[in-house]
């Protein structure tokens, strides 16, 4: 069997590895972006000088030859699904028995005047980082970042690390509030401002002004303000990177349409990761989840299907993580940014430090539904097991310490949380949890 994988991001790479685990098929991974797979999420750390590009490679260079996975460093121009052929830049082509498309995303642009000027860009590909470095070498007096999502805050941190002033335009009235509940959103906003970022909430881009030579001179906001800058970061989300396939018979909506087996409408063709759009996503989940972890999980399922085991994609309990400057963020399960009927949310926040824990539970059944953590690390296995087994919130609070994953000697706040919980819900829970591995294992056996 001859398997071609287009894209060497986390989805493509994981697919290649897991197919190799299951079979001795010929595997070829194609990417024009980089010779070897690297961690996209680490791009910011290269700019900040924490790491060099080589450190972000997923495996040592010899890994691919050792595992008999061929790498082709070329862009793909076109796919002929009838002939089962992938056409590469430069005119050559490769044929496949099974094809996995994992081409990821591209940064959004919404047709703003000036959005194609020099000095305007997103941050997704390695080439975007190279462009940022080139712009920085010329000197950035002020950078304006448009869009208050995860990439936006990463870009702000990148410039901040090099003492480049940043104005951060965020459409929402409070930072990332489509995802973060009010307490966490306010905390992160304050943290960003405390780092000296000029955060403009409730502000949108109206146009980017040309200096006459095709470079950015300034931007204008919808409120009519003009801000001088020579770099504009567009971080208003991403869309599936599928434009090169639009003229084919591949069924594309926003992303490449796939069924629960991650199969497209073309025989022996799969799509995974950011570029895939599930025609029937699991309840409560979006059809496109442009998230590192989702890409990795889809890849494992696609690998099973490619090697002949019929396996449906089930992303399991939602989880994600990020870091806002110095605040680590983890989420497990279902946390709504707004109060919803039938769901109660318990929220504890440290009186001074940027640390908080939010736990959602069913108001009627008291089954725990989700955890939102800022500045405190919780154990995924424990939280997920509580959520999946619909464990009662009282029991969760009783054993809450078992979820704590902060390093040794860190102050644990679970007793404070339990006290606050008791007060708020008139309960008399006392802390019984320990974070010793033996306790956790026992706890999870009882849950399971």
């Amino acid at each position: 069997m001859n398997v071609i994988i287009i894209g060497n991001g986390i989805a493509g790479t994981t697919a290649a590895r897991f197919i190799r685990k299951q079979s001795d098929a010929k595997i070829t991974m194609i990417s024009g972006e980089s010779t070897y797979p690297f961690s996209r999420t680490a791009l910011m750390y290269i700019y900040m000088g924490h790491m060099k590009y080589d450190h972000t490679k997923l495996y040592e260079d010899g890994f691919w030859a050792k595992n008999n996975i061929d790498l082709i460093e070329k862009w793909v121009d076109h796919i002929d699904f009838d002939k089962k052929e992938v056409l590469l830049s430069g005119g050559s082509s490769v044929s496949y028995d099974k094809l996995i498309i994992a081409t990821g995303s591209k940064p959004n642009k919404f047709g703003w005047p000036g959005e194609n000027l020099n000095g305007v860009q997103g941050l997704y590909h390695l080439q975007d980082l190279e462009k940022m470095e080139a712009a920085s070498a010329k000197g950035i007096k002020r950078a304006v970042i448009v869009g208050g999502g995860l990439i936006g805050v990463e870009m702000a941190e990148m410039f901040h690390s090099r003492h480049i002033p940043v104005t951060f335009l965020v459409r929402e009235e409070s930072f990332w509030n489509p995802v973060l509940p009010e307490g966490e959103s306010l905390m992160v906003g304050k943290h960003i401002v405390d780092h000296g970022i000029d955060l403009r909430l409730g502000e949108e881009l109206s146009e980017i002004v040309d200096d006459g030579d095709g470079n950015v001179k300034s931007i204008k906001t919808k409120n009519g303000e003009e801000i001088e800058c020579n770099f504009v970061g567009l971080t208003v989300g991403v869309s599936p990177n599928v434009a090169f396939l639009k003229s084919t018979n591949l069924n594309i909506n926003r992303g490449i349409q796939v069924n629960e087996y991650l199969e497209t409408n073309q025989t022996d063709v799969f799509a995974i990761g950011d570029c895939a759009e599930l025609s029937k996503p699991s309840p409560g989940r979006r059809p496109i989840e442009a998230v590192w972890y989702a890409g990795r999980m889809m890849a494992q399922v696609a690998a099973a299907n490619v090697t002949g085991k019929k396996l449906a994609y089930d992303p399991g309990t939602w989880f994600n993580s990020a870091k806002f400057f110095d605040i680590e963020y983890q989420v497990y399960g279902d946390i709504s940014p707004k109060e919803t009927d039938g769901v109660s949310q318990f929220y504890w926040e440290h009186p001074e430090l940027p640390k908080s824990v939010r736990i959602a539970f069913d108001t009627q059944t008291l089954a725990v539904r989700g955890f939102n953590l800022m500045g405190i690390r919780y154990r995924q296995e424990v939280c997920t097991s509580w959520i999946e087994n619909k464990v009662n919130i009282d029991e969760v609070m009783t054993n809450l310490k078992a979820a704590n994953f902060d390093p040794e000697f860190f102050k644990m706040y679970e007793e404070d949380m339990i006290k606050a919980f008791n007060k708020q819900y008139s309960k008399t829970i006392s802390s019984q949890g320990k974070r010793k591995l033996s306790f956790i294992r026992k706890l999870m056996q009882t849950n399971g």
């Binding site: 750390y45 972000t56 089930d314 994953f405």
Partner: protein, 461 residues
Amino acid sequence: MANYKSMSVAAHHLSAKMSILYKASMALALVGVFVLFSAWFSNMAYDSVPLLTFSLLSMALGILGITYSLYADRHAGIKNNGVWHDNLTSRGTIAWASGIILTAFYVILYWYPQVLGLGADGSANTGLIRLFDPLSKALNGKQASQWFVYGALYTFVILFLGIKFIVKYRHNKYQIYRTISIIFFQTFIAFLLPEVLQSLNLPYNDFKNIWPLNYYFFFDWHLDELQANGTFGIFILVWGILSFLVFTPILTYFFGKRWYCSWVCGCGGLAETAGDPFRHLSDKSVKSWKIERYLIYSVLVFAVVMTVGVLYTRFTGNEKFLFVGSDALSSWYGFYIGAIFSGIVGVGFYPLMGSRVWCRFGCPMAAYLGIFQRKASKFRITTNGGQCISCGNCSTYCEMGIDVKSYAQQGQDIVRASCVGCGICSAVCPRGVLRLEDGSGDIGSRAQEKRNVLFDELLNQ
């Protein structure tokens, strides 16, 4: 709308002000170093007390000023901005120059102490060593030796760069506590206590320097010295034997080798403080891991064979041991391992190969501890489910050259003989994936089994 008081302009002005303080502090510290050099090279009839005080004070204030300017106006958090852009920390010319100067210093220290001003056969010291005479006399009643100078500077560096490290990681209690521990053991157990013992006419002894790191423990002259000191000598002997035979296995079983390597040991202490800016320079390749295993266990075997030889000769009176004399064995060990490996390569190469070259490739104690850690210890680094984003910060900042990411991205726990448990991988992880733990049971299965999140479970259904 959320309303924040904007400090947007302030932060950038602050950093400019801080950079002035940084430069001034750096200059002050260099003045202190310059005074050391001028005492060394000039024939001035200087007065030791004020000159040494001035030198140490300006170096101390310089380091504190640097610490303040680097970390004070910043939020507590990971401070690795620009590490790979800075000449000194990315093997630039300044790094090479520092490496050469450090190496030269060690060569002189080990083999040409008279160059530092050591008085021949008990005659008065000159140069750099004379500068430390008053301090030495105050502590042990004798004039300074090159080892006293080295010990004093070593302790000074661990103390003040230890403070810098604590401020850098002030959000992380694990780092704070273990650095306080390192400073304590270096200052009181390794430096002051042996000096006090000498002033009481008792044998010099560093109670935390355990055989086989302390390779001369069973040497003839050392055993003679202990024998000549009655009960106290026997106490040191018993303490030393218990340390490697009983304390080490027990403590390593419960806590991993970190109890020694990053909480107690002086070599580790210097690596964690003075060496911290260079921790990312260690080689992470599988090849270097292979070299590491060959080298470190060879040194351990060498140390054991050499010690057995020395004891054999002592008890049988037979000098010949395994084709060569035990004298030859022990002097080779002292030269190649004691001096060249642990000193010159171990510290001199900090700015080029990272801070733990000796601990990783050479230390027989680390090898001994590592065997327990790998085979019989509760210690491991656990991975938080499937949260790893393969960014590589953990591997990059592992001073022991462990490719932590290669485990974390597969959801595997990490149990490696070489891990000194410094906890930096867990600190620099931007997703909170790693945690150092002393867990019970199933250490092997948790570490070896590739717990690929989701996949294995699905296939097993």
